[in-house]
């Protein structure tokens, strides 16, 4: 029985939260990786673009709520996301037309494009803060838990409860659907294949008659979808605050690079690698050992490898180690 308790404990505090957090990171990381693979620059505006999409989701959620529209047990935000995506894509295409296109046509070095993306970061951040303000906002409604800790305890008679939030399940399901559609698109459709070809070798792709304008446009469309949904899911699960989104850019970059930048599948897994290692290394295992070890061997301290203050530092350290020993990432990067 103690053993089962220990497993439930780990599921409750490590596995489920890490899976949800990892999915959110994964969506962001695929966004980074797509931009890097096809437009060939590190987009420092990632976090703020995600917060921009989330902002629209929130605005639409408020609008629907004021109209009295709701989805019952599901959050209203699900209904708002498609509308937000449209606005987000519009914004991204606008930015591309007025900002990035010039440098792409002139074949500027990637560093310059990265600098330009910093300018976009400043502007996007300002727009988000001016429209919705810098404060913390929760926009979740509907049924909060699928399984409550107390109910689970009663049901199974165990000491440990397992609480699963509906946002966590939602995040995981939506991520799986979105990512599998994306991979199907990239691998099976003609447009997806031409995107991969363009990413692999631009000149050859152009020679074989692939239209670069179309590729770039589709990339921004996909990026808009990923950014909005990823941001909205994070906001539903935790809360929306522009500054947090800016900070999330860093683990997202870490995930993309750890997985091999330019490789969407690597980015997808990289998200989970980062999320799991952050949570595994900063969790206090005291209770876990109390269950599985006999009483005489119980540990005195918290049995925590690193204090939770260093949560971000964990992902950055992993990234630095990967960059130094395997710069192309766990899965060979730079092929889409």
């Amino acid at each position: 029985m103690d053993f089962v308790n220990a497993i439930i404990l780990l599921l409750n505090y490590i596995f489920v939260p890490a899976l949800a957090y990892g999915s959110q990171l994964a969506l962001g990381a695929i966004f980074v990786t797509l931009i890097y693979g096809i437009l060939r620059f590190a987009n420092f505006a990632t976090g703020d673009m995600m917060s921009f999409g989330t902002m629209f989701t929130i605005l639409f959620t408020w609008y629907f709520q004021s109209l009295g529209i709701s989805l019952g047990v599901f959050p209203t935000a699900l209904l708002a996301i498609p509308f937000a995506v449209i606005f987000m894509i519009g914004y991204m295409l606008l930015i591309d037309k007025f900002v990035f296109k010039y440098y792409r046509v002139n074949k500027s070095p990637p560093v310059q494009l990265a600098m330009v993306s910093i300018g976009v970061m400043f502007v996007t951040q300002a727009v988000v803060r001016i429209i919705i303000g810098p404060s913390d906002r929760r926009f979740f409604d509907g049924e909060k838990f699928i399984i409550k800790a107390g109910e689970f305890k009663e049901m199974t008679g165990l000491n440990e409860g397992l609480a699963i939030k509906s946002t966590q399940v939602l995040t995981i399901i939506v991520t799986l659907i979105l990512v599998s559609t994306l991979f199907w698109f990239l691998n099976k459709t003609k447009t997806g294949k031409s995107m991969r070809a363009y990413s692999d070798n631009e000149d050859l792709a152009l020679l074989s008659g692939i239209d670069p304008k179309k590729i770039v446009m589709i990339t921004w469309v996909i990026a808009g979808i990923l950014a909005t949904i990823g941001g909205a899911l994070y906001g539903l699960d935790k809360s929306f605050k522009p500054f947090t989104y800016f900070n999330n850019m860093l683990p997202i970059f870490a995930a993309a690079i750890v997985g091999g930048i330019g490789n969407p599948f690597g980015a997808f897994l990289g998200g989970y690698v980062i999320a799991f290692s952050e949570i595994l290394l900063t969790y206090a295992y005291r209770k876990f050992f109390m269950y599985i070890l006999p009483e005489s061997m119980e540990p005195g301290g918290l049995v925590q490898l690193l204090s939770t203050d260093y949560k971000f530092a964990v992902s950055f350290s992993i990234l630095v180690i990967v960059l130094l020993y395997r710069p192309s990432g766990i899965f060979k990067g730079k092929v889409l």
Binding site: F122, R129, I257, A313
Partner: protein
């Protein structure tokens, strides 16, 4: 002379703007803007050396700034004797262990050929080392943090004049840069950017959470000053006389003695804070001028020529027998050390160290905007960028407010949109910075004062 006309014009406009602030707002505000402009100028010079001279991208400026600030704390705060006796020995022993660990790793690296076995041995040494160090240091750290946590709770510093920290800050930042440069400089430009950004976040995390060393988010306040205190000045005779002399024309208009005395007091209070700020301005100006002379000399020296050659064509420079790796490391360390000086200056001026205030927007990206807007590769341009961008950053709120009032003039004062816009005036600075950066990058990619290399 004519060649430098645009430099002179740009700087005159900048100084004119600051003087206008002094006349229309107050001299206090003008001087605090000026002081922070000088500090920003030091930072931009550091970033400019790396980016403009050598083409190295460093997004870790925040980390070096914070280390400079830490140096100010460690140099100037009086040592906390109880903390040293409670946990000092453990900390010192851990320090020796860390040094031992590094030496052991180096020994293994030198002694054995590169192989899987060597990697495993190094990993084992590091993991074992970390565990042992944690066991040794934990009781010490706990003991130190327990001593009067509301007032100290850390080891304190050396109790030296804070001005020494400007040099020590440079050493700290340079040391960190050496370590980072050793491991990360081989990376491609955009990877280097991301890696340095993340490493600077790690540095901030450590400073924030190692309370025994830095007091963490509890902040260190009331640091010593290199300048006199306002309260003391207000009671010094020569200062009161000086203020009286300066304002004699205004004071002579007042005939009533009591009123005259009250007015004088007011002038003295205002004057004292202006005087203190002027002292800082003087100190900072000396640093900026020394650094400017040194960097200008370096730029036109054979070494500067070599750096530009490396920047413009690494392979060719390498083929000419220049040691690219070594020079990159050198310039990375030098630039970071300059940023470290700026970090120490910043904490010196504020008189407090708040690890929570180090954010990448303010201390990394803003500095980059300064370098790019001002003109990378040109020291005068970088300094001008520091001045112009910082000036805009501060004055963006009043300008934004003015613009909002202008555009919404037709609306009622209680109109929801107007109220909302006025509330969000502080964020207009981000908008201005972003648009400014984008416009400069598009239409004047070399900055306001572009790099100009004359062959003498």
């Amino acid at each position: 002379m004519r060649k430098n006309l645009n430099v002179i014009a740009a700087y005159s406009i900048m100084m004119g703007l600051i003087i206008l602030v002094g006349i229309f707002q107050s001299w206090n505000i003008a001087l605090s803007i000026f002081n922070l402009c000088l500090i920003s100028a030091v930072m931009t010079m550091g970033a400019n050396i790396q980016w403009g001279y050598a083409g190295l991208i460093n997004f870790g400026i925040m980390g070096y700034t914070a280390l400079g600030g830490l140096a100010a704390v460690l140099i100037s705060v009086n040592p906390v004797q109880e903390a040293w006796s409670a946990g000092g020995s453990n900390i010192l022993f851990s320090l020796f262990l860390i040094i031992g660990m590094v030496l052991a790793v180096r020994y293994v690296l030198n002694k054995y050929e590169k192989s899987k076995k060597r990697t495993y041995i190094i990993a084992t040494i590091i993991i074992l080392g970390i565990i042992i160090i944690r066991f040794v240091s934990e009781p010490g750290i706990e003991a130190i943090e327990e001593i009067e946590p509301a007032k100290t709770g850390f080891l304190g510093g050396l109790g030296l004049p804070i001005i020494f920290s400007w040099i020590v800050g440079a050493l700290f930042a340079g040391g960190l840069a050496f370590v980072i440069g050793k491991v990360a400089l081989g990376l491609r430009a955009d990877y280097l950017a991301i890696a340095t950004l993340l490493i600077s976040e790690i540095v901030i995390a450590i400073i924030k959470h190692e309370d025994w060393l830095t007091r963490g988010v509890k902040n260190v306040i009331g640091l010593k000053r290199p300048a006199p205190y306002e309260v003391n000045l207000q009671q010094t005779d020569w200062f009161i006389n000086l203020v009286e002399k300066f304002n004699s024309s205004k004071l002579n208009l007042i005939t009533d003695f009591a009123e005259r005395q009250a007015a004088l007091n007011q002038f003295v209070i205002e004057g004292s804070s202006v005087f203190v700020k002027l002292c800082y301005s003087g100190l900072f100006l000396v640093v900026v001028i020394i650094l400017l002379i040194l960097t200008q000399k370096a730029l036109y020296s054979p070494w500067g020529r070599m750096m530009r050659a490396i920047r413009d064509n690494e392979e060719a420079a390498n083929a000419m027998g220049k040691n690219v790796v070594k020079q990159h490391l050198l310039i990375f360390v030098l630039g970071s050390a300059i940023v470290g000086i700026a970090g120490a200056m910043l904490v010196t001026q504020d008189g407090l160290f708040t690890p929570g205030s180090y954010r990448p927007m303010r201390y990394t990206f803003l500095i980059w905007v300064m370098v790019i807007v001002g003109g990378s590769g040109n020291n005068f341009g970088a300094i001008l960028g520091g001045f112009a961008v910082w000036f805009l950053w501060i004055e963006a709120a009043p300008i934004g407010l003015y613009l909002v009032n202008l555009t919404t003039a037709g609306l009622d004062d209680t109109h929801a949109l107007k109220v909302h816009l006025i509330e969000s005036v502080p964020y207009f600075r981000f908008l201005m910075m972003g648009i400014g950066l984008l416009l400069i990058m598009r239409y004047r990619p070399k900055g306001i004062l572009p790099e100009k290399i004359e062959i003498k």
